[in-house]
Every structure is written in structure tokens, then in C-alpha cells.
Symmetry: C2
Subunit: 280 residues, 2 copies
């Protein structure tokens, strides 16, 4: 039998990958979770039919969602990750000896359980001593936090279903308040290429600009996400992502990476003109 998983990128565009076997299929109160093993991309996490993580290129997303902020402010000690139950963002964070505490707030315990069982490549640092896992709604979790975190990473699904509330001005204000005075917020910010995600990118960025004094977006080449052109947001109380960036200082930490480097740090903020126009 030929087994294929197909994701609809739009109503008119499909992306399909050949499947070796389905490893897991489960339904939580929030969403449907599937894990498949594929020929091209290795193991793949799919939530409500949308591709979330692949073994082949998760390093691109997880390095970029983590190291850009860490390189701008290597003094970050306390980090909140909202979403990201697969553990990939936490894995990258634990590589910094300077980080003292990581709170991972994932609404859906089944994502964590399935990732621990089938996605060891992302979940293998969830038992790091500095990590505390909260199976809770990130929106509620952040409501009563004040000047606690140096970095908040919103590693969310798309703004449909449980991810929707993570794209609101109210939530961004709560994140702002939860941050210390040099705090940085990084958010999964969709793609500029297809109309639907472009609209989400624009809306989220405009909301963030109302809340934070410094808001920039940066991009990565992430082939398994729709269009392969993916945007992350960098919102900040004090530090500018490129002007306050000291590449030499980050290099001295001595981390080996596979996508991120100090040149691409700068380069990732150089956006195509059509994206700049969308965000003007």
C-alpha cells in the first residue's frame, strides 16, 4: 500500500509526503494528534491535519526561535515557553548553561506525552533539572505574572483552535507585563506568501507594535512549512535585535548550530521588499 500524508497549504495547493508508517494517532480535548514516519522527513508531528515538526528540519525552526534572542541578550536567566510541547525549543534553551529556569506551558498534555514517546529528537531535554512543565493554558498562565521572565517564546500553532488566543493584543500585553525590564518576546508569526497566513502575520505584528517599543520580524528557510518562508517576531522592551547584537560574544559561548549563525542573525532581518510593504 502507498501511504501519503497531504497538507493543504491553501485551497489550491497541496504538499504530500510518502509515509512509512503511522506511529501514533490520538485525540485530546483540544485537537487531533498524529505522528507518522516518512521517507523524506523522518518522523513528523501533525496536529489537526497540519504539519508541526519534522525530524529533518525542526532544527531550523527551533534554532531560530531560540538563538536570535539568546544572542541579543546572553544574560537571559529565566525563560517562559508557551506551546512547544514537542520540546524542541526547550532542548535548544537547555544548551545555555547561563539559563537558570525554563517554564514550559503546554495546554495539551497529549502533545508532550506523544512527543516523549515518539519524538526523542525534540523531547530529550524535557527532564533537564531547570525545566518545569505546566500542562495549562498559556493565556491564563501568563495573566498574573509580573516582571518574571527575561524571555518569553510563543511557540504556537496557527491562530485557529487552541492557538487562537495566542495572537491577541490582550495576550501580548500580558506577555509584556510578565517580562523583566530588558525582556524579549519571540513569537511564531506565520508566513508572508499565501494570503491567509500573510494576513495573520500582519495582524499579529501590528498588535505587537501597539504593546512593545521595539518590534521587528525575521525569517527562516523552513521547507516543510507552507511556502518554506517562515516569519518569527522579535518584540522587545530595550534591546534591538541587530543594533544591540554582539556576534563575537555569542560565538564565545561555543554552541554548535546547524542553521543559526551570527551572519544569518543579521541576514534574517533583511526582508524582501514585498514583506516590508506588508508591515509598513
Amino acid at each position: 500500500m502507498d501511504l501519503w500524508f497531504t497538507e493543504d497549504h491553501t485551497d489550491y495547493v497541496k504538499f504530500s509526503m510518502k509515509v512509512k508508517e503511522q506511529l501514533f494517532s490520538g485525540k485530546s480535548q483540544y485537537q487531533k494528534i498524529d505522528i507518522i514516519d516518512t521517507y523524506e522527513f523522518g518522523r513528523v508531528l501533525v496536529i489537526d491535519g497540519y504539519l508541526m515538526v519534522t525530524e529533518k528540519d525542526e532544527f531550523i525552526y527551533h534554532e531560530m526561535i531560540t538563538h536570535v534572542a539568546m544572542a541579543v541578550n546572553p544574560d537571559i536567566k529565566k525563560v517562559l515557553v508557551i506551546g512547544g510541547g514537542d520540546g524542541g525549543t526547550v532542548r535548544e534553551l537547555t544548551r545555555y548553561k547561563s539559563i537558570e529556569e525554563i517554564h514550559l506551558v503546554e495546554i495539551d498534555g497529549l502533545v508532550v506525552d506523544a512527543s516523549k514517546k515518539y519524538l526523542d529528537f525534540t523531547s530529550n531535554k524535557l527532564d533537564d533539572k531547570r525545566v518545569t512543565l505546566y500542562i495549562e493554558d498559556g493565556i491564563k498562565f501568563v495573566k498574573d505574572k509580573k516582571a518574571v521572565y527575561d524571555l518569553v517564546i510563543v511557540d504556537s500553532t496557527d491562530p485557529i483552535g487552541p492557538g487562537e488566543g495566542l495572537f491577541t493584543t490582550k495576550f501580548y500585553k500580558d506577555c509584556y507585563r510578565s517580562l523583566t525590564d530588558k525582556g524579549i518576546l519571540i513569537n511564531q508569526n506565520e508566513s508572508p506568501y499565501y494570503a491567509d497566513t500573510a494576513e495573520q502575520m500582519i495582524k499579529a505584528t501590528n498588535k505587537l507594535k501597539k504593546v512593545f517599543p521595539i518590534v521587528e520580524v525575521f525569517q527562516c528557510h523552513l521547507p516543510t512549512y507552507a511556502s518554506g518562508h517562515w516569519i518569527l517576531g522579535f518584540s522587545s522592551k530595550a534591546y534591538h535585535p541587530t543594533k544591540d547584537f554582539d556576534g563575537q560574544r555569542w560565538k564565545q559561548i561555543g554552541l554548535e548550530t546547524n542553521y543559526y549563525n551570527t551572519n544569518i542573525h543579521i541576514g534574517s532581518f533583511a526582508l524582501p521588499t514585498y514583506v516590508n510593504k506588508m508591515l509598513e
Copy 2:
């Protein structure tokens, strides 16, 4: 009837787009040429089953294959384009008043004819007075040229079929000889993401390094090419693509672009670590 065009990105990955109608289908002595109208990407040129040009995002490829070189050396007067029978690269070149002569050498007259009829958005400058069209084999065309061109652009298909000879050391040496002493060669250089194209990218770059003193590669976000992460090569006799780049000078030319800008010029040469490692 639901009509879909599917391109195989690898044996295990497919990319499909919904088709409004097939506008043209023809076969030359070299290849099969199809033009379809699609819901998401507008008109699309397909050669031997592989997507070449889409109305939605051809600007990304054609701007990057043209403006990077033109911005490094605005004194370019005489240009050779090999391949590129759709006319998109020529269209971008004709925007520079400073260019005096453009030779377009396309092996397959049917590509030009079909593009003129159905792809006005790329072919609309093929009748510019400065353009001379040669329906000839680019490999042969360049053999007896010596210090003629300031810029050669190899706007080729993949290195299979008629494009194969455009990825050889012999051909690169002929291009080198055809260039003036400040000459630049830009080539379509495949993608680093999937194994097959990554191997082609590495081989082509290594060959170019044997011929040119300065060889760098740069990237663009081109969603309709496999992986969306596409590489172009910049090989040069004298000018370095970033160290000898004067962004202000290019801005003074006053061209409006939709992807290229002077920030992305620099940023496009900042490669992911895994790509740098491939090219070491």
C-alpha cells in the same frame, strides 16, 4: 472536473496546484513544454514536468538573478543571458538604462514562442531594441567569445536534459573567457535542502571555484521551487558581491523592486550553517 498539476520534489515528496485550464502543450526536439493557468499561482510554465516560472513569484527569481550583479557593478553595459527563454531575466535587465546590449541565447525556440503568446508578464521586453535573440545552444554560442560580456547570466533548467552541459567546468571556463576583466557570472545553482539538488549545488560551486577567483552563493525564498530555498551563484573576476557593494549607488538608480533591496542583497549571502558546511 478537478484538474491538478503535481511536481515530484523527490521520490517521496509531491507539490500540487489546482489548475483552471491548460493553455498550451507542445513538444520541441529538446523537451515538453506546458503552460497552465492555476488558481494560486496564476500562469505557470512547466518543462518536462518541472515547474519553471509562475506568475505569482517569478519576480523573486528574476529580481535576484539580475539585480545582485547589477548592484555590484552598475557599469555593466553588455550582458549575455543563456537560457531564460521566458524573458523574465531580460525584462529585469532592460530596466537599466545603462545597459547597451543584451544577448539572449535560448536553445529552444518553442519556449520563447510559447512565452510570447502566454506569458506576457515575463516576455514583454523581448522586443526591446537592445535585445538580440539567438535560438542556439548556449554552450556552443559562448565557445568563441572572448572578453565580450560584462555579465553572463546562466538562467538554466536543472542539470538534466538540455541544461546538463550548463553545469560543466568546460562551460564555466568558456563563460570566464567570454567575460571582460571585471566580469560577473550568475548561475541558477539549485537548492541545498533535498539530497539530489544539494549534490548539484555542491558540484557546480566546486567547479566554479576552479575557474573564478571569487565564488560566493546567495539564496532567495522562492516558494514554488522545491523546498522554497533556492541558491544562485555569484562568480567574479574582480568584484566581491558584498565587500564591493555600494547600496547607496544602486538606490540612486531609482528602480522599484518587489523582492530585491539593498538589505536583502547583503542578507542573501548569509547562509545557514548547514549550507556553509556543504560548500566548505
